[in-house]
């Protein structure tokens, strides 16, 4: 049983999707339990495999049994789990479970009788994301990228907003071009190395002093793969599809896509950088880290400033994602000799998934409950929806980087990487973006706390009975959200804090995983 965990992680949601597809349309009520159970199995398997990795190092699983004894490396497809993607797997499982709980009633409302199809797509999306994370085969990665992309196109286009449909169309074009670039890069690599297994490619590229790695076509392959992934993760110049797609998607779709898609793409980028090309090749041979870090700096600043210009809550969050992607890409490319930037980037993948989830769930509740697409409509929300706003505030504080939330610690490690590698511009960008985020969110807090317009006079009220007093601009009918949406919100908020407080062990795991990768390069 235990040695089947890597396959089970991917297969559980797949079978879940098939069951929902077969039986869901007869009775919509069975959808949710199936989704929950299959994701829970995935979570269980992820935890199990993660423990195995901690005990005995990376775990390999050869599909169809074509391991190196029976055949040659790369003949079959290998799943490979080390400490880093073990962590990412757990994050994916937890996030998707939380979103599925969030979607219990939402999905039915937003997708009008297409609930089973929604859940099929939802589960297939998680299949794709899980698969992208575990696979060690460059081409298999492409297939799984497409599984997750196709489902996310549909999840976005399912909504009723016509702007969402247009956004989905742009996303399809961009996403397909991105995936094709990736595929092309893999083709170039295959042409030069004759294999598709990532470990094998790495072996060939570094063999004999890395002579094959120095050929121009390998460089072109890297560029193609990188650009393809950048499109997927919405890195700075290629982010155009993201804000509209995520903000006009149905809220449940937005909540699953925003935390996971970009983050997993960043993880894949890191995996390609370290696992396929290798530290030494990327930072030593290629040496573009300065250019990419500058690009990341621009991404951070552009994302933050554009977020500042938004008046719609969800769009603002979407631009923040663009900035956060800049954090991660920049951190991964800092290339300080001890790999602190890389550590920070990986930790930020985990942290940002939960931060984004927290904010998106809260924003979705707010948008739904009080029809508040815009920031100004949030007046007095703190009084009416205190629990939701608490979750929102915790997510926001994490985005700003206030201790003890995880956002603070990831920034901490990223800044350390920036200082050690001498990329002061990156440090400055991180701090500036923190400050902009502070402005951004406190603008909202102020409105949510005190209403839209300043109260007249001092607001002296008669005792406790009229505490709502000077705020009431919104209709009083707005009440706290449902329990099924609050529970995931609060759990996420708790994780945001706990992940920050207990960053030590997480960082230790990440460090132990990336240190050998750095050492290989020397």
């Amino acid at each position: 049983m235990a040695d089947q965990f890597p396959a089970i992680i991917v297969l559980a949601p797949l079978f879940g999707a098939l069951i929902v597809g077969l039986a869901g349309s007869r009775d919509h009520r069975i959808c949710f339990p199936v989704v929950l159970v299959s994701l829970a199995v995935s979570l269980f398997a992820s935890l199990g495999v993660f423990l195995q990795v901690l005990q005995s190092g990376p775990v390999s699983y050869f599909m169809s049994g074509w391991d190196t004894e029976k055949s040659v490396l790369g003949a079959g497809i290998e799943l490979r789990i080390d400490a880093i993607n073990g962590l990412v797997l757990i994050v994916i499982a937890v996030v998707s479970i939380l979103v599925s709980i969030f979607s219990i009633r939402r999905a039915g409302e937003e997708t009008t009788e297409k609930t089973p199809q929604f859940y099929v797509l939802f589960l297939l999306l998680t299949v794709g994301i899980f698969g992208m994370t575990v696979t060690n085969d460059a081409f298999n990665l492409f297939v799984l990228v497409e599984v997750s992309s196709l489902t996310s196109y549909a999840l976005i286009a399912m909504g009723k907003a016509r702007r969402g449909t247009m956004a989905a169309f742009n996303y399809i074009l961009m996403g397909t071009v991105g995936a094709s670039f990736y595929l092309l890069g893999v083709g170039y690599l295959y042409l030069k190395t004759g294999t598709l297994n990532m470990g094998h490619i790495h072996e060939v590229l570094t063999a004999n002093g890395g002579e094959i790695g120095r050929s121009p076509s390998v460089m072109v392959a890297f560029v193609m793969i990188l650009v393809g992934l950048w499109i997927k993760m919405a890195f700075f110049p290629l982010y155009g599809w993201l804000p509209n797609a995520y903000s006009y998607a149905p809220s449940t779709s937005g909540c699953i896509l925003a935390p996971l898609m970009t983050k997993v793409s960043v993880y894949v980028m890191i995996r390609v950088m370290l696992g396929v090309f290798g530290w030494e090749w990327v930072f030593g041979h290629l040496g573009w880290n300065h250019a990419v870090v500058w690009l990341a700096v621009i991404a951070i600043l552009a994302g933050s400033v554009l977020a500042l210009a938004q008046r719609e809550l969800k769009k603002m969050l979407c631009y923040l994602i663009v900035a956060e992607v800049g954090y991660m890409v920049g951190g991964a490319w800092l290339a300080d000799s001890e790999g602190w930037g890389m550590t920070g980037a990986i930790y930020h993948i985990l942290a940002d998934a939960f931060m984004t989830l927290c904010l998106f769930i809260a924003a979705s509740i707010l948008v739904k409950r009080c029809k508040a697409r815009r920031i100004e409509d949030l007046g007095g929300m703190f009084k009416k929806m205190p629990v939701t706003m608490t979750g929102f505030i915790i997510g926001a504080l994490a985005m700003i980087g206030i201790p003890p939330t995880c956002g603070f610690f990831s920034k901490f490690y990223l800044i350390r990487g920036g200082i050690e590698s001498g990329h002061w511009e990156f440090v400055a960008a991180l701090i500036l973006s923190s400050l902009i985020n502070a402005v951004l969110f406190f603008r909202i807090f102020e409105i949510a706390f005190f209403g839209n317009k300043p109260a007249e006079g001092h607001g002296h009220e008669e005792g406790e009975t009229s505490e709502q007093g000077s705020i009431g601009e919104q209709a009083l009918s707005v009440r706290e959200a449902r329990l099924s949406t609050l529970i995931p919100l609060l759990v996420t908020a708790a994780i945001v804090i706990l992940l920050g407080v207990f960053n030590g062990p997480v960082i230790a795991v990440i460090r132990s995983a990336i240190e050998p990768l750095i050492a290989v390069g020397g």
């Binding site: 396959a7 297969l11 797949l14 079978f15 098939l18 597809g21 077969l22 349309s25 699983y61 599909m63 169809s64 049994g65 029976k70 055949s71 040659v72 490396l73 790369g74 003949a75 079959g76 497809i77 997708t111 009008t112 009788e113 297409k114 199809q117 797509l121 297939l124 085969d137 081409f139 298999n140 297939v143 799984l144 497409e146 599984v147 196709l150 489902t151 196109y153 549909a154 286009a157 449909t165 092309l184 170039y188 295959y190 042409l191 030069k192 190395t193 004759g194 294999t195 060939v204 063999a207 004999n208 002579e211 094959i212 121009p216 076509s217 460089m219 072109v220 392959a221 560029v223 193609m224």
Partner: protein, 266 residues
């Protein structure tokens, strides 16, 4: 936009050409892709996957068609997700287009009345289809079943089978194609196809092997050994693929041609 496109195209194109410049010659049997990577001194780095496929497949699987063997066995995991992609596309189109409630606003202009061609056209087309469709279907089944020995397999056969239903819908109308191949049926068939595929994998797991390790299925399949079990299981998964592809091809056509209403076709 045009200028931007031009710049993007020129940059990408020249980058790609730059990469092409040190490719091995076209058709070179000794290129890394075909014979494995070699260092400048001519020593092989690792073993060549491609040569392994060509030389060992016969021994390991008894399947003459290497493409089928690689597709359904060595890279069977890939192929399963390929089928999932198709399935996902079907679901996606359903989710985007399908109109489940009669909603006056979402109804587009009514499709053109196809009877305008007159009855003569109907008779000729109808008779031709009556003859052609069974032949197509029969041939597609052959393509699926004979994938081990000749070009073919689940995808090719499935597309042809789907095409035969589409032909019916084009020739007569969508409604008559849907009377037999109802939405419920093709959606179920799509799921069942993947279930068959993944089920083979799962069975191997239950028998203490890795996912999709068909060899172990010889304990279930009668009169087989490890190698023949692989061959037979490949046929099984190809049939699963064919199910899904047939169903989804038709589903895509049906939804697209009727704007998701599944009533009138083109």
């Amino acid at each position: 936009m045009k200028w931007f496109a031009l710049i993007a195209v020129v940059i990408t194109g020249s980058l790609l050409i730059y990469g092409v410049s040190d490719f091995p010659d076209w058709g070179d049997a000794q290129s890394p892709a075909n014979a494995g990577a070699k260092s400048s001194t001519g020593e092989p780095i690792g073993e060549s996957v491609s040569q392994f496929y060509i030389t060992e497949t016969g021994r390991l699987t008894h399947v003459p068609n290497l493409v089928t063997a690689v597709l359904a066995d060595y890279r069977g995991y890939d192929t399963m997700f390929e089928t999932v992609v198709i399935f996902a596309a079907g679901m996606a189109i359903f989710a985007i287009l399908r109109v489940l409630r009669e909603d006056k606003h979402t109804l587009g202009p009514p499709a053109k009345d196809t009877t305008a061609d007159g009855d003569h056209g109907r008779i000729i087309v109808g008779t031709t289809c009556k003859i052609l469709i069974p032949v197509i279907q029969l041939f597609s089944l052959y393509v699926v079943a004979h994938g081990h020995y000749s070009p073919g397999g689940g995808f090719q056969g499935g597309v042809m089978l789907g095409a035969s239903f589409i032909l019916l819908a084009v020739a007569k109308d969508l409604g008559s194609a849907l009377t037999w191949f109802t939405e419920k049926r093709f959606m179920t068939l799509a799921c069942v196809g993947i279930l068959i595929y993944a089920g083979f994998g799962l069975m191997a797991q239950f028998l203490q092997r890795h996912f999709l390790d068909y060899g172990v299925l010889h304990v279930i399949l009668p009169k087989t050994d490890e190698v023949m079990a692989r061959s037979h299981s490949m046929l099984g998964v190809e049939i699963g693929v064919a199910f899904t592809v047939t169903a989804i091809m038709f589903a895509i056509y049906a939804n697209l041609s009727s704007r998701g209403e599944l009533k009138r076709g083109l």
